[in-house]
Assembly symmetry: C2
Homo-oligomer: 344 residues x 2
DNA sequence: TCAAGACGCTAATACGAATTATCAAGGCAG
DNA sequence: CTGCCTTGATAATTCGTATTAGCGTCTTGA
C-alpha cells in the first residue's frame, strides 16, 4: 500500500526510534495511516516467535478452574491473578487441555503448551513433586501459589504464613485458659493408599502448632483424620479431656461442631474449635468459626508479581514470599469449662 | 542426537503414517527414544505459526472473568465453557489485557491477541455493536453467548429462549386468573445518557411478554425501570391495579418484593412477582421467586461446540442456537386476590 | 529388458514478524 | 575531486516447526 518494505512497517509499528533506526516522519505517517485504515494488527504468534515473549501468563490448576461446587476455594486466588494480569496488560492462558492421569491434571505431557506463555502460575493444594522438580530443572519460569518444599532447588512461591497464624491462635487459646489442646488433621503424615506426602500447607500448620505449644508447656495431642468419622474424632477429643481443638480442615470442624451440638454439647462452652483457614471443601454450616483467614486474593496477585520479576533479566530477587493471615475472632473460642481463674 | 533431519523428527513427532510419508520402524524408534529421554516438546508457537491453528479458544468478557461480587452471574457460563474445552483438549485464553475504554473492555485495540486463538467466545450482557460488526466483517471465528441481532450479517450465538420462557410464564399467570399484568424493566428502550440500545436479552423478554399477552387479551402495562426507585415502581403497579408483575431484573424484583412486605403487603397474596431469569446482580433475598432459570452452563458448553463447528472447513451449519429455559415454580405466583372462580 | 513403483529420508520452503548488516544518495570539508 | 559522515530505507536472516517435492536404489511385473 505504501510502497515500503515489511521491515519498515515493523519498525513503525513498534515505534522504534533508536539512534541506528531512523524513519522519516512523513514515511512514518504514511505507514501509520495505512495501519489505521486497514486495522492491521501484527500476528501475535509470529511476533512471539521472533520476540521470545508475549505477555501471556499461563495458569495451571490441578482441578478445573471454574469448579461446580459451591465451596469455591480457588476463586479468590484467581480473582487476584486476574486483577494483577489486567493491570500488567497480560492475558491469561488456562491449561484446560492438561490430561487427567490418576485423578489429577498433569503439567507435562506430550504436546504441552507451557512455552506458549512467558511463565506460569501453579495452583493446587499439593503439587506433584516430580513435576515440580522438572519445572525447576528445566528452568521454566513459574510461581506456585502456596509454599512448597525444595524440589531439586528452591521453588518460587507466594504462600500463607500458616505457622505464624497457627501459633498465634495457640497463644490466644492458651491465653484464655486452655491447657489441653489437640491438632485435628493430617499434619505431616502421608495420606492414602499410595502414601502421598502431606501437602506443605498441612505440615506447616502442625509445625506452627507444635512450636507454639512447646513454648507454653501445655498438654497436646495430634488426632489424624484419615478415614475417621466425625463421631470417632469427637469421642477421642472428649475422652482425652481436650478443651480446644485446632482443625486443619474447615469442613472437619463443621462436622465435629455440628455433631457435638446434636449431642447437646455446647460449642465453645464444652469445646472450643479453631479453624486453621477458610473452607477448602463445601461446608454447609452457619457456625462463625474462630481462626484465621488466608489472604487468597493477595496471594494470587503477588504470585503474578513474583512471576514478572522472574521474567525480568535483572536479578531474581525475593522469589519466595509468605503473607500473614488475618485473625478471625469468631464465636467458637471461649475459656474452658472449669476455668474460674483456676489454672496455673 | 540421532543423526536424522529436522523433518524426520517432525514426522515422527506427529506420528505421521500416510502413504507418502514413510519412516523405517527402527528409525522411528530411535527418534522416539531420543524424544523421551530429553523430554522434548515441540514449541507450540512455532507449531501454530506453521499449522495455522492451535486448539486454543479465546474467551472475551466485557467484565472481569473472576468477579469479586457475590452474585456471580457469569460463572456458570464459564463452567460450561471450561468443561467443553477440557473435553475437546483445548486451552482457554482469557483476554484480560483488553484495555478498558468508557467503562468497558475493548475487543479491538492495537496489539490485540485475537488471532492467537483459533476462535473466540464472547460473553457479556450487551456486546458493542461496532465491535460485533467488525468481527463479522473480518470473518474472525467467534460465538456469542447470548442472542445478538445481526451486525452486518448473522452473528453466531447460543442464547436463551427468553421469548418462549416469558410467554410460558404469562400463560401460567393468566391460567391462574391474572388479568392485569405488568412488565417491569428496560425492555427495548434505550438506556443511559448516551442512549445505548437495550440488550437483546431485555428486548427478547418484552417481546415474549407482548406476544403472549396479545393472544390472551388481558390488560398490560410496561413500567420502565430507568432511574426509578423500587417505591416508585411499586406505587405505579398498585395504582394500576396490577396483580402480576414480570420483572426483567431479579434484583429489581427482590427490591420490590422486599418493600411490599415491609409495607405489610403479601407476596404473592396481593401481588404476584415473576422473575424473568437468574440474578445478574447480587440480590440479597430469601424469596423463592417463581419464574424460570437460564441454562447458563449449557449455553457456555454449546457456545464452544458451535465454535468448533465454525472452525471446521465443512459447512458451518446451525450457527445460531436458542436453548429453552427451565420453569421454576417458586412461591411468588398465586391466583390474584379477588379470584374465587370469578373471572371470565 | 524396461518402466513403474516401493522405500526411507532430506533439502527446501512457508508461516509472519523482529532484527541487523548494508546500501545508495546527498551534504560537507579539505 | 576525494573521502567521510549522515540520512532513510531495505535485503537478508532469524525464530522452530509442518509440509512437500524429489532423491537414488531396489523390486516387481509385463
Amino acid at each position: 500500500m505504501t510502497g515500503v518494505s515489511q521491515a519498515t512497517v515493523s519498525l513503525v509499528l513498534n515505534g522504534r526510534a533508536d539512534a541506528d533506526v531512523r524513519i522519516a516522519p512523513e514515511t512514518r505517517d504514511r505507514v501509520l495511516q495505512a495501519i489505521r485504515s486497514t486495522g492491521y494488527v501484527a500476528d501475535p504468534i509470529a511476533r512471539r516467535l521472533a520476540a521470545r515473549h508475549n505477555r501471556i501468563i499461563g495458569v495451571f490448576t490441578y482441578e478445573p478452574v471454574f469448579p461446580t461446587g459451591t465451596g469455591d476455594f480457588y476463586h479468590p486466588f484467581l480473582v487476584g491473578i486476574e486483577q494483577c494480569a489486567e493491570q500488567l496488560g497480560c492475558d491469561l492462558l488456562l491449561f484446560t487441555s492438561a490430561p487427567v492421569v490418576d485423578g489429577r491434571r498433569r503439567v507435562f505431557h506430550e504436546d504441552n503448551r507451557l512455552r506458549l506463555a512467558d511463565g506460569c502460575v501453579l495452583l493446587g493444594r499439593s503439587l506433584d513433586h516430580h513435576e515440580l522438580t522438572r519445572l525447576v530443572a528445566e528452568g521454566l519460569p513459574f510461581v506456585s501459589v502456596g509454599r512448597r518444599d525444595d524440589a531439586g532447588g528452591p521453588v518460587p512461591y507466594v504462600g500463607a504464613d500458616y505457622p505464624a497464624a497457627t501459633a498465634a491462635l495457640v497463644h490466644r487459646a492458651v491465653g484464655v485458659g486452655h491447657r489441653r489442646l489437640a491438632y485435628v488433621g493430617q499434619g505431616d503424615g502421608p495420606t492414602g493408599p499410595d502414601r502421598r506426602p502431606a501437602p506443605e500447607s498441612h505440615a506447616d500448620r502442625l509445625r506452627g502448632f507444635t512450636a507454639a505449644v512447646a513454648a507454653t508447656g501445655v498438654t497436646t495431642r495430634h488426632e489424624p483424620t484419615a478415614d475417621r468419622s466425625p463421631a470417632d474424632l469427637l469421642d477421642a477429643l472428649l475422652d482425652a479431656g481436650v478443651t480446644a481443638a485446632f482443625v486443619e480442615e474447615y469442613a472437619d470442624g463443621a462436622a465435629i461442631a455440628g455433631l457435638a451440638r446434636e449431642r447437646g454439647l455446647s460449642i465453645p462452652g464444652d469445646l472450643s474449635i479453631l479453624a486453621l483457614g477458610d473452607p477448602t471443601r463445601p461446608a454447609p454450616t452457619d457456625i462463625d468459626f474462630s481462626g484465621f483467614r488466608i489472604p487468597r486474593r493477595q496471594m494470587g496477585w503477588q504470585a503474578v508479581e513474583v512471576l514478572t520479576t522472574l521474567l525480568e533479566p535483572t536479578g531474581r530477587s525475593e522469589i519466595q514470599r509468605l503473607l500473614s493471615c488475618e485473625p478471625v475472632d469468631g464465636a467458637t473460642l471461649a475459656p474452658p469449662a472449669g476455668s474460674g481463674r483456676s489454672t496455673k
